[in-house]
Amino acid sequence: MDGSDAERVAQALAGDRDAFRVLVERHSRSIFRLAYRMTGNEHDAEEVVQETFLKAYRRLSRFESRSNFGTWLYRIGVNCSLDLMRKRRPDSERRDSDAPEGSEAVRELPSPDPAPDRLLLSAELGRQVAKALGALSPTERAAFLLRHFEGQSIEEIGQALGLRASATKNSVFRAVQKLRLALEPFVQVKPNVAASRAPSPNQ
């Protein structure tokens, strides 16, 4: 209906700003999800989304029409996120490590009217997931998110992050290994056991 991404890029390069608007409207939500998972908070994710499209616009002539525009955009989004994380790392570290009750991850926890013990467990788990993701290095987090959520290949992730395939694979492996170490105690098979082990957020 609105033409393929590649067609829109070609039109935008020919000076049709409306074509770029279509690309922004088409990809904003997925870039937001990526940016939120990278940065861990909505405000930073919003900033990353905007910066990603501004950079994409500026670099549009470097996009190769045979490539996938979404993948190319993700690459820019990841690097914008990494830049922002480097800039804000001390704050985000404090947010992640101080077990904040008011952090985005906890505030955004869903599930209307769940049983109280389930709410406690899911809130604790959400907090632990945010903490575990926050403990990954930026490169590990980026590699993991692109592999796990975006299903990008090791080669694509390597290109996005400027890493060789072996280093990329290793980053994904290290990320999963760390997540597993941090989260396995919280995802035991028996919910009651997990609930009793999980410290209360109020403690």
Binding site: L54, H148, R164
Partner: protein, 260 residues
């Protein structure tokens, strides 16, 4: 087959097991080995928990709102673009230099000297000190991140075969060298010898990383890792970084808030 390693199980989970035979062998093994199946199921549960962590929803009109916010900036960038194309890295360099000049200004002018009385400037001394402590703290955090990633790189067998690309860390080390020099000079002027020593050592390590080949063999990587570890630089940076953060907090408590 023997029990698959954790690395193999993770690769299997993501479909990164190269050989069909190897995949089939893991399939069969998981069907027959309780311990490995339990381990694999635990891995699946962990990944499912990460996946289930909520992401705030954006509605269908979100893209339009993003467009409204960025479109005025596209006009500005278009006007600048003809220069940017001629010197693609120039704006980055200008930005970095501006930050350095600003930091140099703050550093040279505002870092409180031990013997100096507070001058009647527009910004109270404690606030000035805090500004610089925040900058030094951030710098040490960034350096720590680069060092930690290098020390942890190649922790598995995958890398011992193929070597490692450190171009990402290298670029970041390069970016940090100039700022490090500036902070070291400032600390020298103020007589903060502990900070000077750590920054001095850090600078040598950063320069070494920046000047290493981007592609390292496992042996070269080990060599760098050993040098970093032998110097204990990561530990020193962590210690001095937390001391700086403590001083930053104290300065924050002393410093008056707002305009008063």
């Amino acid at each position: 087959m023997t029990h698959p390693s954790e690395e193999q199980l993770i690769a299997y989970r993501y479909g990164d097991v190269s050989e069909t035979q190897e995949r089939a062998a893991i399939d069969r093994h998981l069907a027959s080995c309780d311990a490995c199946r339990t381990s694999y199921e635990a891995l699946q549960r962990v990944l499912a928990a990460v996946e289930a962590a909520p992401v705030p929803e954006r509605d269908a009109s979100y893209g339009s709102r993003v467009w409204q916010r960025i479109s005025p900036q596209l006009d500005q960038r278009e006007r600048l673009d003809w220069r940017a194309w001629l010197v693609p890295r120039r704006w980055v360099a200008v930005g970095a230099m501006a930050a350095l000049v600003f930091a140099a200004f703050l550093a040279g002018r505002f870092w409180p000297r031990p013997t100096q009385q507070e001058s009647a400037g527009p910004i109270p001394v404690q606030v000035r000190e805090r500004i610089l402590l925040v900058a030094v703290g951030d710098h040490l955090d960034h350096a720590q991140m680069v060092l930690a990633e290098l020390v942890n790189a190649g922790a598995t067998e995958t890398l011992t075969k193929g070597g490692v690309d450190i171009s990402f860390e290298q670029q970041r080390a390069q970016d940090l060298v100039e700022a490090n020099r500036l902070y070291r000079q400032t600390a020298t002027r103020t007589g903060d010898s502990t900070l000077v020593n750590v920054l001095d050592e850090l600078e040598r390590v950063l320069v070494e990383i920046a000047h290493s080949p981007a592609q390292l063999s496992s042996a070269q990587l080990n060599e760098i890792q050993q040098r970093i570890e032998a110097r204990g630089i990561l530990f020193k940076v962590r210690v001095i970084g937390s001391q700086v953060r403590e001083r930053e907090k104290s300065a924050g408590q002393i410093a008056p808030r707002g305009r008063s």
